[in-house]
């Protein structure tokens, strides 16, 4: 996609709340491939990226 954020270095397309979530979870949103329309990064994408990045964390329960 010529206009995806990674191709042109543009900002990731995500709402303020999702960008905040990424910051809160310590994930770099620019590196996430969004699953929403126009490649939009959704809250779920951020949560997945956060889990994927911390495999060392002990599984809950």
């Amino acid at each position: 996609r010529p206009h995806s954020s990674s191709a042109t270095g543009r900002r990731a397309l995500a709402t303020p709340a999702v960008r905040k979530l990424a910051r809160d979870l310590g994930v770099d949103i620019q590196g996430i491939r969004g699953s929403g329309p126009n490649g939009r990064v959704m809250a779920e994408d951020v949560r997945q990226a956060a889990t994927a990045r911390t495999p060392a964390a002990p599984p809950a329960a």
């Binding site: 206009h3 543009r10 397309l13 303020p16 905040k20 910051r23 310590g26 126009n38």
Partner: protein, 474 residues
């Protein structure tokens, strides 16, 4: 040398009580920090005392005075209209007082210690605060520099506070000037020049570049140029003040333009040629901070300077000098200091100009979109075709939306016309939410309202206009 100085300490020291500093103070206190706020002049800073608020109060009164003339032909006729400048100025001051008193109450309610005086860094964790009567030191863990900006002076036309003045004095004139010359056709000059014209002054605006409001889309500025002409404001572009001489009651200016020079006599000259950051005289080098070429303090997205425990916000940082930028940065800095993951990470900062008509803009223009590699599609909708604008008799203006042709992603919103200040918020939210032309077009907009024009502009961009005829695509 000061004897017997007292030293206070605080988690967070904030220097400057403008919309950057006081908002940071409230938020830092909310987050449990002990906060000291130092202000050398008036709580509320430029914005509340001599900027945003008093200018808009003056503009409201001036609009009202002007409206009185317009409505006669619609059947509301005034006899013997007169202006009482004392009352106008009292209203301006009351508005300021009410808001600054509100801010003081909020600071108290959050247990922010407010210290009057001028702060200067003695070292990275220490400032001295000097006021008329006393001096003290304040030791701090972290500090936020929010010292704002001041009017830039013109070399050949120095401020004298009476005849040659900055916006501060021009807001507070105790009489309507006979002839006000405004040097500088930026937003502050236009806002104040228009207001005083509506209150009865003869007004001439001098702009050194070929256009008023340099940097703004020409098509957005046109309705303002038209209105200025209707109001009888003389606009001289490509004009430079060559010499200036003050007499007892006047300033005599020689103005050169492309084609020659002209002599203007004015009883008041308002110089508004930009603002400079208050980053001198602060002892920043003692604190380890170095400035950029423009005198601004470089910061990262958490508002931290190169010295990690020192933060800077508002007009002292690079970027637009706007109150809402300062306040948003204030929230970010306070939260960053308290350990939250906040960052100044916004898609767009709106800007509003309270001219007649108002202009508001957020995001990219078509040209900017092009230069960022988009193929922009532009949708325009004239307010002359908007029912609400007609009922308000405010039909001059248009709504412009810019979007990416391929994806429909909205990139910019621009409005010249009535209530631009109120309708622009929808545009900012649309950009932050990543909305598309379809999202905007399919959102039901109440009838009859001005904001319908955004929806109609989106439908124009989508090539399915309703209230204008379709034009052959370019």
């Amino acid at each position: 040398m000061v004897v017997g100085e007292f030293t206070e300490s605080a988690d967070v020291l904030i220097i400057g009580g403008g919309p950057g500093g006081y908002v940071a103070a409230i938020r830092a206190a909310e987050l449990g920090q002990s906060v000291v706020l130092v202000e050398r002049d008036a709580i509320g800073g430029v914005c509340l005392n001599v900027g945003c608020i008093p200018s808009k109060a003056l503009i409201s009164v001036a609009d009202q005075a002007h409206q009185a003339h317009l409505w006669a032909e619609r059947g509301v006729m005034y006899q013997g209209l007169s202006l009482d400048v004392d009352r106008i100025q009292a209203f301006r001051q009351q508005t300021v007082d009410r808001l600054t008193q509100g801010v003081r109450t909020l600071l108290e309610g959050h247990q922010v210690r407010v210290i009057e005086g001028e702060a200067r860094f003695l070292g990275p964790h220490l400032v001295r605060v000097v006021s008329t009567y006393e001096s003290q030191k304040i030791q701090f863990e972290k500090a936020i520099i929010a010292t704002g900006s001041r009017p830039r002076a013109l070399a050949g036309l120095p401020f004298d506070g009476v005849r040659v003045v900055s916006s501060t004095e021009a807001l507070a004139f105790s009489e309507v000037p006979e002839h006000l010359v405004v040097v500088g056709g930026g937003y502050i000059g236009l806002e104040l020049g228009t207001a005083w014209r509506k209150l009865g002054s003869q007004v001439t605006i001098l702009e050194a570049t070929p256009h008023l409001l340099p940097g703004f889309d020409r098509e957005l500025v046109r309705p303002i140029e038209r209105r200025l002409a209707q109001l009888g404001v003389r606009v001289m572009t490509n004009a430079r003040v060559e010499t200036a001489r003050s007499t007892d009651d006047n300033v005599v200016l020689t103005v050169t333009r492309n084609d020659g020079s002209e002599v203007l006599e004015a009883d008041r000259v308002l110089v508004t040629v930009g603002r400079v950051p208050n980053t001198d005289g602060l002892g920043l080098s003692e604190a380890g901070i170095t400035l950029d070429g423009g005198g601004f303090i470089p910061v990262n997205e958490r508002m931290a300077t190169k010295v990690p425990h020192l933060y800077a916000i508002g007009d002292v940082t690079p970027g637009p000098m706007l109150a809402h930028k300062a306040s948003h940065q204030g929230l970010v800095a306070a939260e960053a200091i308290a350990g939250l993951a906040s960052a100044f990470d916004v898609t767009a900062i709106p800007s509003v100009i309270f001219t007649d008509p108002e202009i508001a803009s957020v995001g990219l223009t078509a040209d900017e979109a092009k230069s960022q590699g988009y193929d922009p599609v532009v949708g325009r909708f004239p307010l002359a075709a908007n029912g609400r604008a007609l009922t308000l008799q405010e039909t001059d203006g248009q709504a412009v939306v810019i979007a990416d042709r391929e994806t429909g992603l909205l990139l910019g919103f621009h409005w010249v016309g009535s209530q631009a200040s109120s309708v622009i918020a929808e545009g900012t939210l649309a950009l932050e939410m990543g909305a598309t032309l379809e999202d905007l077009a399919l959102t039901v907009h109440a009838h009859p309202t001005l904001s319908e024009a955004w929806m109609e502009a989106a439908m124009v961009a989508l090539d399915r206009p309703v209230h204008v005829l379709r034009r052959p695509r370019s």
